[in-house]
Symmetry: C2
Subunit: 470 residues, 2 copies
């Protein structure tokens, strides 16, 4: 169907015609996300109600037009890219509902609400919404739900999916369903809630979510521990966890990350250590005092080089600043950051570090490693220049080898960023042919015309990793 006719049909179901964008400049601003590739849609609709979404999808399904749901476009895996043209369904403007119910300890939210706003609203009632992706101040809950976003607090509190107890969803045929509800426990039939969260917009458009909240921990305590050997750091992490302590965060930075940060904004970090581990304890004040002692003992006993305990809230913030600066620091070196999130079982972290160093040497790539080490969710980041096609070919090979290493060590392609377009070529490597086929069966049975976010998760025949925008 030509765009003009499509727009005419859309105007019949969209009340506010200004929510339909067809201008070239507008279309281009919806053609990319925080990963790779530029794909211009035919039309963008800023949807603001369930009935609108339902009507748009019914129309799209009838005419077999691809629909690409989108939040703020912070995806690192290509989730919202309109790779087959069609309609981009921008849900980021739909933010009218953010209700905290302290009695039921839930939040009910519209898809366009920013994730950090949910936590802020919960805090007013002495509650928290634990999932804390680094992008939470700019990313929408809708995007977080589609990708099942994680974050540092995942170690103790789990990821987005662990907090979703109910959804309103528009199916790929435009029908409106409700999954789960307002109760924490629910075993009535298949768990569609947890199937849809993390399905990257391929099984339905989430139009409302009911999220669990948790009591706010009384206090937090941060410490920074330096290690001359990443294997020793790995041992410390395992020993802390098996001593009965579950920190709220355990983040690692490798030597390359530390050097990048010191070059960017000197903080007095020693650049000759192999690893820096940031630990946050949370909970009751007396408990974390005691746990702090134990953590220090464990670290010393395995042979840490230096331990720095934050004495004030300001010192706590200072320590976390180092971790926050990694991303801005590394993109100063080269403009293109390939941010992976291959995840391995905790016991394999030292081996994964070794493999990453080998890959770095083999392909001569600028690799830095940091991330959520407590749950094995590392972030190997390669810094490159995407205009340099030769360099990008090496990067592609290095990335593929990173995935292969993670899977060989019993891990997974993605801990929290999702598959999208970028990791689709590697799905079968992890899941096997039948495993992938069972996922495809669900997709086909729900979306027979393949209109919802087509071109994602499932590899196209012969698809390979391409880290350029061309």
């Amino acid at each position: 169907m030509d765009t003009e006719k499509l727009v005419d049909l859309l105007k019949e179901v969209i009340v506010d015609h200004e929510c339909i964008l067809t201008d070239n400049a507008d279309l281009h601003s919806y053609s990319y996300d925080a990963s790779f590739g530029v794909h211009v849609p035919d039309v963008v609709i800023m949807a603001k109600s369930t009935i609108e979404v339902s009507n748009i999808i019914k129309l799209a399904n009838e005419h077999e037009i691809p629909v690409y749901p989108r939040g703020q476009g912070t995806s690192l895996s290509g989730g919202p890219l309109p790779v087959k043209g069609g309609i981009v369904l921008d849900l980021s403007k739909w933010k009218d509902k953010l209700v905290i119910d302290p009695g039921d300890m839930v939040a009910v939210v519209s898809p366009g609400v920013l994730t950090a706003q949910i936590n802020n609203a919960a805090l007013e009632h002495g509650l928290i919404y634990p999932p804390d992706p680094s992008s939470s101040h700019v990313s929408t809950i809708g995007g977080n739900l589609a990708e099942n976003s994680g974050g540092p607090r995942g170690l103790k509190y789990g990821v987005t999916k662990d907090y979703v107890i109910g959804l309103e969803v528009v199916t790929p045929e435009g029908e409106i369903i409700r999954t789960g509800g307002r109760t924490v426990k629910n075993v009535t039939g298949y768990d569609l809630t947890k199937l849809i969260v993390g399905s990257e917009g391929t099984l339905g458009v989430i139009t409302e979510a009911t999220l669990r909240l948790f009591p706010k921990p009384q206090a937090t305590q941060t410490l920074m521990v330096l290690f001359e050997d990443v294997v020793v750091a790995g041992k410390a992490i395992t020993n802390i966890l098996s001593s009965g302590i579950l920190p709220s965060k355990m983040e690692i930075m490798d030597q390359a990350s530390i050097i990048a940060v010191e070059d960017y904004q000197p903080m007095g970090l020693p650049t000759d250590v192999d690893a820096l581990v940031l630990i946050e304890l949370d909970g009751h004040l007396a408990a974390i005092k005691d746990e702090l002692k134990q953590v220090i003992e464990v670290c010393k006993s395995v042979g840490s080089r230096e331990i720095n305990v934050a004495q004030t809230k300001q010192e706590e913030a200072e320590l976390w600043k180092a971790r926050k600066l990694v991303s801005p620091a590394i993109v100063r070196v080269k403009p293109t950051k390939i941010s992976e999130d291959a995840t391995v079982p905790r016991s394999q972290i030292p081996e994964m570090f070794k493999r990453l160093q080998q890959i770095k040497a083999k392909y001569q790539v600028d690799l830095v490693v940091f991330g959520h080490v407590g749950d094995g969710n590392l972030h190997p980041n390669i810094i490159a220049d995407k205009r340099d096609h030769e360099e990008m070919r090496s990067v592609e090979k290095a990335v593929e080898e990173i995935f292969r290493a993670a899977i060989e060590l019993g891990g997974t392609l993605s801990g929290e960023h999702g598959i999208g377009t970028l990791k689709a070529p590697f799905m079968e490597m992890e899941l096997g042919e039948v495993g992938l086929e069972m996922m495809k069966r669900i997709k086909r049975s729900w979306d027979p015309n393949n209109i919802l976010n087509p071109g994602k998760i499932f590899p196209e025949p012969g698809q390979r990793l391409v880290l350029t925008d061309d």
Copy 2:
């Protein structure tokens, strides 16, 4: 196919022919579970390996013979009942693997391992497997996985599903797949792990599971609080949770439960109170001391009648004994216990109690209410005699009205017992036609010949609740 021919075919794929049961007495011992109905299978196989399960299911799929996976048969909803005859696949004898890996903080288990054994094995490493269904000393992890079992600790720690990170599964076509893995975070494709857990054996047979373990809390503290009004108890529960305290357990017993226990085994409980709430705090010793003070303050401030704090481990056990005696106490009154688990949002607990009392009066049934009040997961139990068909008709009506009340109050048919045969007739009431259809699509796409646990979850045309064995 006649049974003789089926057994001949099975003998070709089962190494140990003594694992094939066809004797009438044997078949009858597999004809029931802890719910209602007697259904005799054609043959029982005690399977002990993945390849055996795969071969059995391939055979069954080819010849369109129903297969009913079964653990210890403690299901309260009819999960393992062979309602269409065929093969019962007894997995309770397959218990060879129970490996605790303290480094990765996981347990890897065979389906026939008893749930309590997993927790006991974890404790040896200072870890716990938190899900604690009341039946955990007799029920298998395979059954718990199929039904997504809960338990008192669900309030703080969640249910079975929250602890499953990887599965080996035989599909309805006999293919072997692995879902998830050994990492806590995994967003590679659809979450088949959480889809299969709780699917009541209709989407696959779980042949191995990887379960998360948690650090063992340092200490526990139990207290019993008596209330003259269940509404006041509800207020106390909400206020405790919103004051930043998350107890590990919060169990309620209504007056009828207390009276039943006192009649059965006098413990000195006051029989004139409206509700008794048992609370367990766990965590760091200093933290729970402090939390105990706060809980007492909250209870007093809303107007509790009496608070009894356990001073020793023995007193703690004494207090919990009251709760444990409810089930044996009530079946002494009449032989048939209809144990429901309708669950409502926490704020609706007082209203649900009111509705339950109205239903009790309307249908003149022996109704007692107890359960996991902290998460709204009540257990309204009706005591009757299933041989009295007239009484059972009233019970059926009462049960239906309990489901209706739970759904009206924003709750669900089942918090932890599953749908099975018993609640299938009410599925559409909660899910709507399209919601149910989306579940059916998954079932059809995975199990085109409908051989895995047919007759469960999804209602047959015109199916209604029948609480007799005929």
